[in-house]
Amino acid sequence: MSTGKSSKWRDTVILFATLTLFWLMLSGKLDTDVLIVGAVASLIIALLYRDGLSFFTEFRFTPQAIVAGFRYYGYFLQELFKSNLKMAAIVLSPSLPITPGIVKVRTRLKSRMGRLMLANSITLTPGTLTVEMAGEWLYIHCVTLGATDIEAATAEIVSGFESYLEVMYG
């Protein structure tokens, strides 16, 4: 959570690079005029929204973090697939076997982006949904309730994603 001048410039440069990459993917051309328009627009947005969050804000550009990033997305897609199948099974079974509830869990992550990614990952995997965040506490709605005490619920819901995000963002 450094808010020094240099890290702010770093964030601006990273945001600029991310936006330019998006522009290139979207336009699909490498002509000079397209490049100039994209670069100018990205620069203006990057300067205006330098305090905002973007994909690589607070990302630690170390080899470990990049490896953890790839493993995180692998783990995430695997979880997404598994939990979707589980959800499909629930929806298709005639008795609708749900035991919903809202549990409280705690995260070790400190960075804003790390927490955002954690909450998003939990929400994206069906069956769990982040309802409220308050500092290190997250309130998760579960379709099928597992453990209800904080430690056990944290281990069940949070720990899988957290171990990767901790290396990526801290």
Binding site: L80, N120, P126
Partner: protein, 112 residues
């Protein structure tokens, strides 16, 4: 080779559509707003991603744009689901009697 990719693309499209169908079915069958959000906004994530992947197989030229759509989906979909759930909870939306526990409501009562 081209035929194989076409078949894979078609299969991806069909399975994507199947997950979207399960999502809509969940929307109908789930008893309260939170469970509906769970079924409706999120089985659709995989459904849409599979549909995009299928489209990318059939139209490789769209690949980058489809990837971009997927990335935006992954980042925006959970935010909207979170805001919906959060607002519903704050406004005291009815919870199904099946609900076992609500530690958020308990904590808020403690503060009030």
């Amino acid at each position: 080779m081209g035929l194989l990719i076409d078949i894979i693309g078609g299969l991806l499209l069909v399975s994507g559509a199947a997950f979207l169908l399960f999502g809509s079915l969940g929307l109908l069958r789930m008893p309260d707003v939170f469970n509906r959000i769970q079924a409706g906004t999120k089985t659709t994530t995989l459904g849409t991603l599979l549909t995009l992947a299928g489209a990318a197989c059939l139209q490789p030229a769209w690949g980058w744009k489809l990837l971009l759509i997927g990335v935006f989906l992954i980042f925006t979909n959970p935010v909207s689901a979170q805001v919906l759930a959060n607002t519903a909870h704050r406004r005291g939306a009815q919870k199904t009697p099946l609900t076992k526990i609500d530690q958020l409501a308990e904590d808020q009562e403690g503060k009030a």
